[in-house]
Symmetry: C2
Subunit: 470 residues, 2 copies
């Protein structure tokens, strides 16, 4: 091989696979590593398996910026969430579940790929007309579950790129109905699969949640005879919050109303599962993508909010129900993190993650099923841009950077005994600090450097995104 | 047409044309608006036209960050630039030639498209692995001149995107030999057409300028029987500066040595034209892409440097020689700007700019040929990101923003009588300030909003770019 050819190949391998190679990778992954059954055989297979199917339907319900303390079952005394509380009563509730990144796009990339956001290149929030998105050669939960015979749908907020190549239809989802961005990022374009079907008045859409739920139920109905994966993404309670007038309660904040609306609409999803007699073969997960922004979200006293690696920014509710498989009313105190979901779901679907790339998490089934604990292979690291902000190993958590400005003195906490991160223990445990600092230094060596790019957007109203309207 | 379909079409038209539409646009532009002769007929046509061909070869020699006062013919007493001074003696020298943007990538985009950088989306410096570059639906000088029968080459620094779709071969250039970035942006990959042929030690390449010149001469030889356009881009005097040892002069700065090296190598290009008897049918332009960075570049007393809209950041040398067509030793005081080059070159090649898009400049031939003056249609505006920083209309120049922080009080200068921008005239001419502020407000309404994106780069050495090494 010539030097030039070798060089080219090197950059193709490490930098940017060609389209052909990407498709090839996906095919290989689909055909060998991921798939344990063929898609065509699945409909019949389900019948044979009957109710106690080993491969459950997967309904992932993701809220946008819901805080750790926003739900009744997580201690909230003000907001009524009977449906979600009921879900927890009939399943498992995690007390130390983390999201992999403190903001939306990277958090979603980590969930869908099972990999740290810096591995996928989604290291900060995308905005309308962003020139990037989730790369074609990443394997998403949509790809992985489809390869195992699942019908797959992405509904609601996407936030992983708006160019056609980045939309859900090109990332393993048979169906997409939703928005590429948040409601406050104009223009708010509603897509069905690859097509823009409406431009919504982004900050004044009262019934979008009901429409998302309608589409999810319709997808369940169409695919009730085969396993399905619904990746359901609320736009609530992220501002702007617009609710149907009958949803507003006199004297109650619109934020609290929004959580109760989410609860109602979750009820509609669960009722549809019941009506179709699918509840017992469906694993339902209800959770959030990161800590709260704005003044309302209630972290139950945890320090920090969105963009922080303190517990209030990264610890969120996770409730999982699968009747007969997950013990009712269980509480899981084992630490877990959102990039664990990929290996967990892929294994439940009868596959296994491909061997050609780094995965950061591990299968949570032992703790979900209540049959055991997990031995954690790697510490948790939170990374903002190209710097580690915090690390958790065992009960120790070390902070080295606050957002993108390094801390002058690292902060060590025992987050089991002190989840509020109120009592730094650096001085008492210099050995732990030293060991964790070294681990952070080693980890950072593998993180690609991040630069910023200024790019123009087509936003016709020239309105900023990310602005809170309350 | 359905509402959804109309919406889709609207976004396709304003946002992102599909590949099919892009190719179609280029074909239409090439076949009708741009082209006055067919490429196949050109070789023979040149023979028939003989020496006094109406369509000259075009040799554009662009320095990287050369300052207004760095050349002998612009008043420098320290640096010896006999070749370039000779070029000025046998052609025209502009005293008020501006570049369209204060930094490299946008400046280059404006030259190649004849359009303000915000129209092409290149609004700031690109860095290795940038996810964007010059859009496929832009028509570059390469496209426009090739459509008029020119052989086209881009040599040296490109800096308009490194993904294959953004490289010169996809933008009208038959041949490319060069670097996608500056020498200080690692990895420094040398391309021939679309292929990486070498990885250079970016900050220690002594003979790259000679190699660029070799390739340019070779291209001239291959294409001596048809009109050609060589877009020649020095990487000097931008740091890091590495010169062959014999080029270093004891007691002289490496910066001054670099300018003298540029002069020598320009001599090689001109000697090749002479040897091939092409000098009289070649329009040679020698100029710079923006004001100086680092401590050495000499603005001849003009205020400001790279990134500034003060004269030192945007006024650069421009020397143009076309024996018998451009009067020898002429000095052009008429203000001109780099987006004027596109209409000037396209017209000299026998075409005209397409009518389907906004062009910002106008044909400079009346002042180049010494046969007349030009009546300027529009004021000059300099834009950083999505904000106007300065405007020039007639002899008035109004500054409203310093880089990206607005000025508290706008600054008005008469840059004909006060090119040093030392004597603000706001208080004496409130009417002019008011009128120009209103024009700026109107102009800004048409500039797309700019957002920032954080993206990871593959730079294996994790070294920063844009760092000066002197």
């Amino acid at each position: 091989m010539s030097a030039a050819c070798a060089l080219r190949q090197r950059f193709q391998q490490t930098g940017k696979p060609t389209m052909k190679r990407r498709n090839f990778l996906k095919q290989v992954a689909g055909a060998t590593a991921l798939s344990a059954m063929s898609a065509t055989a699945t409909g019949a297979a389900r019948e044979e398996r009957g109710r106690a199917a080993a491969t459950p339907n997967l309904l992932w319900i993701w809220c946008d910026n819901l805080a750790y303390g926003d739900l009744g079952c997580y201690g909230n005394k003000r907001i009524n969430t009977p449906v979600i509380d009921g879900l927890a009563e009939s399943g498992a509730r995690f007390t130390q579940y983390y999201i992999a990144h403190t903001v939306c796009s990277p958090s979603r990339a980590a969930l869908l790929t099972g990999r740290q956001p810096f591995r996928t290149g989604i290291v900060d929030v995308l905005r309308p007309d962003s020139p990037t998105g989730i790369p074609s050669d990443e394997i998403t939960l949509g790809d992985a579950l489809r390869a195992n015979g699942y019908a797959t749908a992405a509904i609601g907020k996407w936030h992983l790129g708006d160019r056609t190549e980045y939309l859900p239809a090109q990332h393993g989802f048979d169906f997409y109905f939703g928005l590429p961005y948040s409601m406050d990022m104009l223009p708010t374009l509603l897509y069905r699969n690859n097509d823009i079907i409406e431009e919504l008045p982004g900050d004044a859409v009262q019934n979008i949640t009901e429409r998302f739920v309608d589409e999810a139920i319709s997808f369940m109905e169409t695919n009730r005879d085969r396993p399905f994966f619904i990746y359901f993404n609320h736009t609530l309670p992220h501002p702007p919050i617009n609710l149907p007038p009958e949803r507003r309660s006199p004297g109650q904040t619109v934020y609290d109303d929004a959580i109760e609306h989410i609860d109602d609409q979750t009820g509609r999803l669960l009722a549809a599962l019941d009506r179709m007699e699918l509840a017992e073969e469906t694993l339902v997960v209800f959770t959030s993508d990161n800590g709260p922004m704005g003044k309302y979200g209630d972290t139950a006293g945890l320090r920090g909010r969105i963009r922080d690696s303190y517990e209030g920014g990264i610890r969120v509710p996770l409730i999982a129900r699968w009747p007969g498989k997950i013990p009712a009313g269980s509480v899981v105190d084992t630490p877990a993190i959102s990039y664990d979901i990929f290996p967990t779901f892929v294994k439940l679907a009868g596959g296994k993650p491909p061997a050609d790339r780094i995965y950061d998490g591990q299968d949570l089934w032992p703790v979900l099923s209540g049959k055991g604990d997990i031995k954690r292979d790697k510490p948790f690291f939170w990374v903002y841009l190209d710097k580690v902000t915090a690390m958790r190993k065992g009960n120790w958590k070390l902070h080295v950077s606050h957002r993108d400005s390094p801390l002058e003195i690292p902060e060590l906490y025992d987050v089991k005994s002190d989840p509020y991160e109120a009592r730094p223990l650096n001085e008492r445990h210099p050995d732990i600090v030293k060991e964790m600092l070294e681990a952070i230094r080693n980890y950072e060596a593998g993180i690609p450097k991040v630069w910023s790019l200024q790019y123009p957007v087509r936003d016709p109203n020239k309105r900023n995104s990310g602005v809170r309207r309350e």
